[in-house]
Amino acid sequence: MKNFVFFTHQYLKQMKKKWWKLLLLFVFPLVIIALSFMALSSIFVQSEQQKLSIAIVNEDTSSESQLLTQLIVTILKENTYIQAELLSMEEAEEQIEQNDSTAAIVFPSHFAADLYEGTSVKLHVLGNPQEKTQSMVVNELVETIARYIASAQANILTVYHYAKDTSISPEELESLKLELLMDFTFYTMGKRKILREYEWVLQPFENPLHYYSIAILFCLTIIWSILLFVFLSKQTSKSLQMRLKLAGVAFWQEHAARIFTTFMTVLILSSVLFAIALSQLDIQYYALDYLRMFLFVSLLILLTIVVCAIFDVIFHSDKVKLLMTFLLCVVLIAGSGAVFPTIYFPYSMQQLFPNFYTFDIWKWLTDLIFEERNYASYTKSGLMLALALTLYSGLVYVKGRWAR
C-alpha cells in the first residue's frame, strides 16, 4: 500500500512536470474531432447552398429533340440548387475551362429519332476536372433522369406497338409519339406522389446539437482515458527494475498506481464536462440520475483503462503495444454506436456489438439523459469489469512468476 501511494504521488508529479504536454494531449482529440466535423459539414452544407450550374449541349437539331432537351431542363430545374442553360459545345467547353460550369450534358445527333425507334442511345456527361465531387453529383442526377426516360420509353414503345395495328393515320402516330413521351416522362417524374410520408421525431435526436455534444463527450472520455494511460507509461531500465524488485516493489503496484491516477484525472475532467453539458439541456434531473450517470461514466473509464492495462501486460514491444492501443480506441468508439448508428453495419458485425461494454454504457447513458429513464442496470458492465479485472490480475500474476 505504501508503495502504491508512493507511485501515485510519482505519477502526479510527472503530470505536473509535463503539464503543457498534458494539455496538448487533452486538446489534440478535440482538434481531430473539430477538423473532421468541419470537413464533413463542408461536404453536406455546401452541396445544398452552392448552385450547380450545368450546361446543356444539344447536337441534335430536330424539333423533337429541342422539346426533349427542354423537358430535361425543366426536370433539372425542379431541384432548386441546379442552374441549367442551353449552350453550344464550344461555349460549354469554355465555361468548364473557366470553372463556371460544373458539367455539361451532351445530347448526340439523332438523339430523339433513335430514342423513338427504340435503339440504344448514349447521353454524354462532361465533368469539370476542377470540381470532381460535384461532377459526380451531376452524373448521378443525369443517370437517374435517364433511367426515368428509359422506363417511360419502354412502355411507350409497347403502346406504339399496339397503336400501329389500329387504324391510326401516320401523322397522328407521329404526334402521338411525342405526346406520349412527354406525358409518360412527367408521369414517371411525379413518382413522389406514390408515397405518403410520415416523419417521426425520436427523443434522443430531437436536438442534434445536444445529442452530438454528449456523444462527443462520450468519445472524448474513451480517448482521454487511453491517451493518458499510455502517456504515463515509463521506460524503466533493466537495472532499475532489478533494484525496485530488491526493494520489495511488485510490478502490479506501479501499474495499479498508474491505473488509479489515470482514472481519477479523467473521471474528474469528464464529470465536470458532463455536468456542464447536462446543465445546458432543459431537463430537470434528480440527484439519483446524476449518481447513475456518474457511475456509468466511471465504469466506462475504469473498464477502458483496465483493457489498456491488459494490452500493456500482453504486448512486449512498445511499438506494437501503442498501435494496438490506438486500434482498440477506434474499435471501442465504433462499437458504441455513439457516432454512427450500429443498425447499418453488416449483420454479422451487429451481433458482436452488444458484447461491447461501450455499447451497453452508451445505451444506458442516452436512456438516462434523453429519455429520463429512472432505472438502470449495471449488471452487464459490472460483470465485464469483474471479468476484465480477473483477467488482468491473472496476467499480472503470471507475468510476476515469469519474471522470477
Binding site: P129, S151, Q153, F184, K191, K193, Y198, W200, K234, P346
Partner: protein, 372 residues
Amino acid sequence: MFLFTRMLLLKKQLVPTLIWLLMPLILTVVVVQWGNAAARDAQIPIAIVDEDHSELSRAFIQELQQMDLLTIQLMGKQKALYALEKNQLDSVFIIKRNFEKELRNNKRNQLIEAYSTNRSYFYFAVKENISSLAQRKATQAKAAHEVKNLLNKYDSDIEWSFDEIVAQGQQREERYELLTVDFSYYNENESSSPTEKTNLLTSWGIWAFFTLISTFYLFDWVIKESNHPVVVRWLQSKISYITYFFSTLAVYLLIMLVIDILTYRIIETQFIWSEVLVMLVFRLTCVALALFVAVHLKQVLSYYFITPILALLLALLGGVFIPMERFFAKWPIMSELSPVYALLQWDVSLVWSVFIVLICMYVYRKESNRFA
C-alpha cells in the same frame, strides 16, 4: 566497415524490421479487402408491411428483396412501428390495402405509406428505390390504359389484356438499354469510370497512413542509437558519426524504395513513372518528417506516442478518411498542410519538396555537431 556494423545491429532485429517495412503493404491490402467486403455487406434494415396480400404486392416485395442494400423484414404494422420507434429500423413501408386494385385502375397516389424518423440516415435512398420501383409498376399500368384508350378510340378488335401489356413493357425495359449515360472529364482522354473514384477508402490513402506510421517507427534508431552508452566511442572511431548516420539513412532509404516500387507493382495494374516518382517523393517526405521529429526527442517512448498521432492528423488533413476537396476549396492553403493530399492527387507538392531539402540540411548541421 559501417555496413558491417549496420548488419550486426540489424541482425538482431531483422524480423521486426522486415515486418515494419512490409506492414504498410500488407495492412493496405487487408484493410481495403476487408473494407470492401464490409461495405458490400453493409445493409439498411427496413420493414415492409403488406396489407394488400395480393399477387402484385407479393411480386413487388419479391423485387424489392433482390436489392442488395436493403435487408427487408416482413412484419405486422404494430411491430414494425415499435421497432422503428426503438431505432432498430431505418424506415417502415406499408403497402396499402387496395394496392393492386388501384394500380389496375391507373391510380397511383398514396399507395404506400412511408414512416421514417429523424435518425433514418438512409431513408432518402430507400425512398428513392422503393418509389421508383412502384412507379415502374404504375407506368406499366398507365401503358395498358393508354392502349385501352387507343383501341377504344379507333374501334380496334385487338384483344386487350392488362397483364400482357405490363409484361411487354417490363421485357422491353429489361432487354434493351434504351438510354445510357457515359461520363468523362473535360480534357482528359481516358474515360475513367466514375464509380471507382468515389470509393470511401482509397488504397493509396490507407497506404499513405500506414507508411507514415511505419516510417516513423523504423526511424527510432535515430533516437535509440544516439542515446546508447557506446556513443562516446564515436570520438575515437575512424568514421565520424555523421558519416555513419547518413550511410545508415541511405541504406534504409534504398530498402524502402525497393519496397515502394514493389508495392506499386502489386497495388496498381499499370506502371506509370510519374506516379512512382510521386510515391518516392512522398516516402522521402515521410523520412524527412521522421528525422525532424526524431532529432528533437530524447525518449523513444514519447516518440512512439507522438508519431502515430501526427500520422493520424496528416492522414486526416490529406483526405484519407474524409474527402477534403470542398474544405480545401474554401481554404486552399490548408491543402499544403499534409503531404498525403499531394500523393492522392498524384502531384508533387512544392512546399514539401522544399521541406525535404531543408530538413536534410538542418539534420546534417544538428547531427554533425553532436559527437564531433
